[in-house]
């Protein structure tokens, strides 16, 4: 019964919306469900019934999806516009890039981070946006728009942002860490979790050494990786999302991760605390873009505009815990999140934050080689292992040949 009532209300709301459109009444809204209403000044239904499917490719767990009684944002968009959404997820910028670069799949809306936006613009993989179709762009804070990687936001609209920092278990450390350099302190030996991702890990070493997180020469890469090598014996493991279990379960005392996820972790385990290291942090901004191969650009722009709606943004922020680039959304957040020092740090942190830029192919390759070398490097022993292996290979081959020869000799009798 409740459901039917709900859909009736929805239909009514939709009808109202359609009727109200020509009038273009300023400030009027369409109520989608109990908590979400969107602006009625936008022609949401122009693609209804045209059998359009949008392929949306987002990070995993990066949208309010109906779990834990949160609103299902994608379903609401489908109901509002009559556009079907095929929603899929990825787990790293590089996976997303590889999939689009290979041309194996076509997407209409993707969510790359800033350095990936730069790389994709360079390679002509992103379509130009018509900001006239995204009026909600005006709601975004100037601090996050018009960035160096995309001047004038011709290709991307910021979705969420976060910083990196240190999360630690207050019951397991005597002295709380305050700087990246503390991750090189023997005090936490065997209790440190590092990023299992070359760029973020590199950035930590770079912050510590006071150099740029965007190396321009292979020497800079080598210096920072050398620094990570000296840290390796203190590190318990290099992890990504495994950090949730390990930090919440008290498996490690100190870890590095993204501020948005830290909110989830500190909520789940109150013993955990977060600190912005004094050397400065990495700011990363995730954006909504349209790949150049998209055939439904205008519908994709409508989706982006929908995601920038205040109520939708609030639902997303409340669900995923990341920080919004939209002032209007921030004003409507719950006090707990709105005044969270993890999500919205003061100027003393933001002034020292650095953004990733896209690296040249040469630097990227050097970074990958040295990073994997660093990870597979053990103090002593490796060179011998290779020798031993070669030797055993030769012995095996020799043995095999000897056996074959013997067999032949026998066969001749």
């Amino acid at each position: 019964m409740k459901k039917r009532l709900f859909s009736l209300v929805l239909c009514a709301a939709l009808l109202c919306g359609v009727c109200a459109l020509p009038a273009s009444a300023a400030g009027r809204t369409i109520q989608l469900d109990e908590t979400i209403s969107v602006s009625a000044d936008y022609d949401w239904t122009r693609f209804a019934g045209k059998n359009i499917t949008l392929n949306v490719y987002n990070w995993g767990e990066y949208i309010s999806n109906g779990a834990d009684e949160s609103p299902d944002v994608v379903a609401l968009f489908e109901k509002l516009t009559g556009i079907a959404v095929n929603y899929t997820t990825f787990d790293s910028n590089e996976t997303m890039y590889a999939k689009i670069k290979s041309g194996a799949a076509s997407y209409d809306v993707i969510f790359p981070s800033e350095y990936m936006v730069a790389k994709m613009i360079d390679e002509g993989m992103l379509a130009e946006l018509d900001l006239a179709n995204i009026p909600n762009f005006a709601l975004l804070d100037e601090q996050y728009t018009n960035q160096d990687y995309d001047p004038g936001n011709r290709h991307c609209v910021p979705y969420m942002w976060c910083t990196t920092g240190i999360i630690y278990n207050t019951t397991m450390v005597n002295n709380a860490p305050t700087a990246w350099a503390d991750l090189w302190s023997a005090e936490y030996a065997g209790n440190i979790l590092m990023f299992n991702n070359s760029r973020d890990a590199f950035a930590i070493a770079a912050h510590k050494m006071g150099q740029s997180i965007n190396p321009t020469t292979t020497e800079e890469v080598a210096l920072a990786i050398e620094e990570l090598k000296t840290q390796k014996s203190l590190v318990q493991a290099y992890v990504m999302d495994e950090i949730f279990d390990k930090m919440e379960g008290g498996e490690a005392a100190v870890g590095v991760y993204y501020s948005g996820d830290a909110i989830t972790m500190t909520t789940d385990n109150p013993d955990l605390a977060w600190v912005f290291p004094q050397e400065g942090v990495t700011l990363s901004i995730d954006n909504m873009c349209i790949p150049a191969s998209s055939a439904n650009r205008e519908a994709a722009e409508m989706f982006i505009n929908f995601m920038c709606e205040v109520d939708v943004g609030v639902a997303n922020c409340e669900y995923i815990g990341y920080s919004t680039p939209s002032t209007a959304v921030w004003e409507n957040l719950s006090d707990e999140l709105k005044y969270s020092s993890i999500a919205y740090p003061g100027d003393e942190v933001m002034d020292k934050a650095q953004l990733f830029t896209s690296l040249s192919d040469e630097i990227n390759e050097a970074l990958d080689i040295q990073w994997s070398e660093m990870k597979s490097y053990n103090e002593g022993g490796n060179a011998y292992m290779m020798l031993l292996l070669l030797l055993s290979g030769v012995t095996l081959a020799g043995f095999n040949i000897w056996r074959k020869v013997r067999k032949k000799i026998r066969a001749t009798y």
Binding site: E94, T95, Y238, D368, E373
Partner: protein, 271 residues
């Protein structure tokens, strides 16, 4: 249409050409060309820069295979000597862990081996430990053995069911002790199973990447991790990634030709 009609194999042949031969050709093509499509050996040389990782993978896979073999041999023999209905039950028990997802099983080991995990807690009652078990190369080997041991047991068991109990009895009658029976009768007669088992454990173990990431703490890189890094990582270099896959394939082929050469010989001996 008779059963030995070759046309019956056509659907699979088409499948094999489309999804095995063509992709293989593409890998070889990428491994020997650069971005512009010119012939180069540079990719192989660059893959050589990761030789320590290759060595580690081979070493760990080898250790895991040997452990699997040593553990599985008695199990296979024991199974093959059971009554047939019991054999079915035991076979099912061995297969049972494989009903669960591979990642889930490895994830469970992550919890078991952790410093606050059940193993260390139990050891703690006796005043031992805690030991660092997770994030070591030992944990990676354990993961490989745990995940792949059924692939060793089953071929061994199959080849051992063909050994007549009277042969073992005859060996004993003729005065062979346990060791002699094992070395001169049981092992030679189960060589086909041993060879299949080694291939079926070594090949997936040498190319795994999920196990090393979850149990090795990210610092025990294997070839699989390297290849994944080339395709889904920062530098995104399909050519170097293909060269690595090619090297891995050659290693696997060498291993297979080695074991199968044993196989042939023993088969001849059996005739």
């Amino acid at each position: 249409m008779t059963l030995n009609n070759k046309k019956l194999a056509a659907p699979y042949l088409v499948w094999m050409v489309l999804f095995t031969i063509v992709p293989l050709a593409i890998v070889v093509y990428y491994a020997f060309t650069d971005d512009a499509g010119n012939f180069t050996l540079d990719n192989l040389a660059r893959a050589g820069g990761y030789s320590s990782v290759f060595a580690r993978s081979l070493m760990l896979a080898l250790v895991a295979t040997v452990i699997c073999l040593v553990l599985a041999f008695p199990v296979g023999y024991f199974l093959s000597r059971l009554r047939v209905n019991k054999q079915r039950i035991m076979q099912m028990l061995i297969m049972m862990p494989m009903w669960m997802n591979f990642l889930l099983r490895t994830y469970a080991w992550m919890g078991l081996l952790s410093v606050n995990g059940p193993i260390n807690t139990i050891l703690g009652f006796f005043g031992i430990g805690p030991f660092t078990m997770l994030n070591t190369s030992g944990a990676v080997v354990l993961g490989m053995v745990y995940n792949y041991i059924p692939y060793m047991i089953l071929p061994l068991y199959t080849s051992m069911t063909k050994i007549d109990a009277s042969i073992v009895e005859a060996a004993e009658d003729l005065g062979a002790n346990l060791f002699q029976t094992l070395v001169r009768v049981l092992i030679p007669m189960s060589v086909p199973g041993i060879c299949t088992g080694i291939t079926m454990v070594f090949v997936p173990a040498v190319s795994t990447f999920a196990i090393s990431r979850m149990l090795g703490g990210g610092s025990n890189l294997l070839i699989g991790d390297l290849i994944e890094m080339q395709f889904l990582g920062n530098s995104y270099n399909l050519n170097v990634g293909s060269a690595m896959s090619l090297v891995l394939m050659v290693i696997v082929l060498l291993c297979m030709s080695f074991t199968s050469s044993f196989d042939e010989e023993e088969m001849e001996g059996a005739v």
